[in-house]
């Protein structure tokens, strides 16, 4: 008797998970439905967000999220690659490798709000100095600061994933090439790089998916200005920061629906990146 229930229970569990995800999707769709009806496709092209005059457009935040994250990727990828090769190929054992891995693990466990705090207190004043030196308006907060904080947070995760992928390259291939007279650089270029490329690609996609949904650290340093950045140091805003700063403040159901609509767009971007990353891994194996 119990076994029958046990069998049923084991099949109810996956059904529950599917229902849970369906429920999540339904909740967000339902919450955003009035925004779909009122704003329609114009929501994506409208660049003004002005609750006082009841003008709601999502364009700024969608672009803001994408630009901030892409810029962060450009900053983080070369560094993550260097650290990944360093700990996955050049120094796989020894005190330096162990220490580096230890620091990366530690940083990966640091909550994002603390990165934001550090950004606000240490990095923003530094960026302000750079801005004064360059002769642009010295806000300190803005697109550049947001991207640097994001890149800082992404490096530990992407570097660890890249290291794992680099470390799986078989020793026979590497030693074979070295024995034939290749220099370590040539081994990296012709053996390690092509073999671990899918892993590196998926690490970058997973990093992108994680970074675009990152909220607190970006909210604290991006400037929360609801316009498109005109230059690198301009204050701007992202979808996640807008939701973080406005969702709890408003009681207007129209604003709530528009914010949830933006949340759905964020979800779509993040899911697409995550799925692409996993697809690359699966295709490789």
């Amino acid at each position: 008797m119990t076994d029958r229930w046990f069998k049923i229970g084991l099949l109810v569990a996956p059904a529950f998970l599917i229902t849970l995800v369906g429920g999540m999707a339904f909740t967000l769709m339902w919450g955003a439905s009035s925004s779909f009806q009122q704003a329609g496709w114009g929501f994506y092209t409208q660049l003004t967000w002005d609750p006082v005059h009841h003008v709601y457009g999502g364009g700024v935040f969608i672009l803001g999220s994408v630009v901030t994250t892409l810029l962060a990727l450009c900053l983080a990828i070369p560094v993550a690659l260097a650290i990944g090769l360093f700990t996955g190929y050049y120094f796989t054992t020894g005190p330096i490798a162990v220490m580096s891995q230890w620091v990366l693990d530690l940083l990966a466990s640091v909550p994002s709000v603390i990165f934001g705090f550090w950004g606000l207190m240490v990095m923003v004043p530094a960026v302000r100095n750079i801005e004064m030196w360059l002769g642009v308006a010295p806000y300190g907060v803005g697109l550049f600061s947001g991207s640097v904080v994001l890149a800082t947070m992404m490096i530990p995760l992407t570097a660890s994933l890249i290291r794992e992928s680099v470390a799986t390259v078989s020793a026979e291939l590497k030693e074979g090439a070295l024995a034939l007279g290749a220099t370590p650089l040539e081994v990296v270029r012709h053996i390690v790089w092509p073999i671990s490329l899918p892993g590196i690609g998926s690490a970058i996609m997973l990093g992108f998916g994680r970074a675009i949904g990152e909220t607190m650290a970006v909210t604290m340093v991006v400037g929360n200005a609801n316009h498109l950045p005109t230059h690198l140091f301009d204050p701007t805003n992202t979808i996640a920061s807008l939701i973080a700063s406005e969702f709890g403040e408003t009681s207007d159901p129209v604003v709530v629906a528009h914010l949830i609509h933006l949340g759905l767009i964020l979800l779509a971007l993040s899911l697409a990146a995550g799925m692409l990353g996993r697809y690359i891994i699966r295709k490789q194996s």
């Binding site: 998970l17 640091v110 909550p111 240490v122 604290m220």
Partner: protein
Amino acid sequence: MHSSLGTDAKLSRRVLQDRLFKLILVGVALGVVLLLTTIIGFVIQQGISVINWSFFTHLPQPPGASHSGILNAILGTLMLTVLASLISIPVGIWCGVAMAEHPLHPLVKWAQVSVDGIQSIPSILFGIMAYLWVVVPMGQFSAVSGAVALSMIMLPIVIRAVEEAVRRVPTTMREASLALGVSPFRTTIKVVIPCALNGILTGSLLGVSRISGETAPLLFTAFGSPFLVISIFQPVQSMPILIYNYATSPYADWQQIGWGASLVLILFCFVLSVGTRWVFKR
């Protein structure tokens, strides 16, 4: 004379390129790792000065007052993590065992996709869902709603760990139990789960360490509170929200308390995540 490797000049150029590449790579990698270490160093240096006994036993005070503490945030974070664990550990074990037992069932395949999906959802959206599911029907912010948001973040971590651990239990153990006439249900409860216990515990603790620093989903669920709250149906303070509020406040002494709280939170997350991995590796 030409060797098969080319001329001496070509060889020395290749060696030079190799050395240069290694130098740049090691320089960048070590430089950035050192820079990142200074972030931790900065938190320790700022935080250590405010941490003393009364920091853990007092409530937050207005700016300028002495003996300010973070007792309510510590208790609030404990309350939120315990509540979230009470939801996601049992559900996670149930789902993880189910997915490991029938890996080829079509429902399970869709459930795998669902778990991957939940893992890619940005954490702030769990805040919106918990807001719509719990805060709106209850009519106020509460610890329960925060715990619901956190439990959805923790659930996929626990499921994956349980699934992995159950798969690793040798088939021979299961077959031995079934051959002795033990029912499948009792085999799972008495043989499979105890064998997988290490993995289940590791996953649960990793999940706890992940959610204890989550801020975004709590902004409009648990919300925050300056008081010591014991009811789970009231808004409750938490460590990450306290750090966020104090970090963005204009008062230097509040910011200092924020650094103290940051140090405590980092230590907590670090001990949980690295400690469990280290202990259970053996």
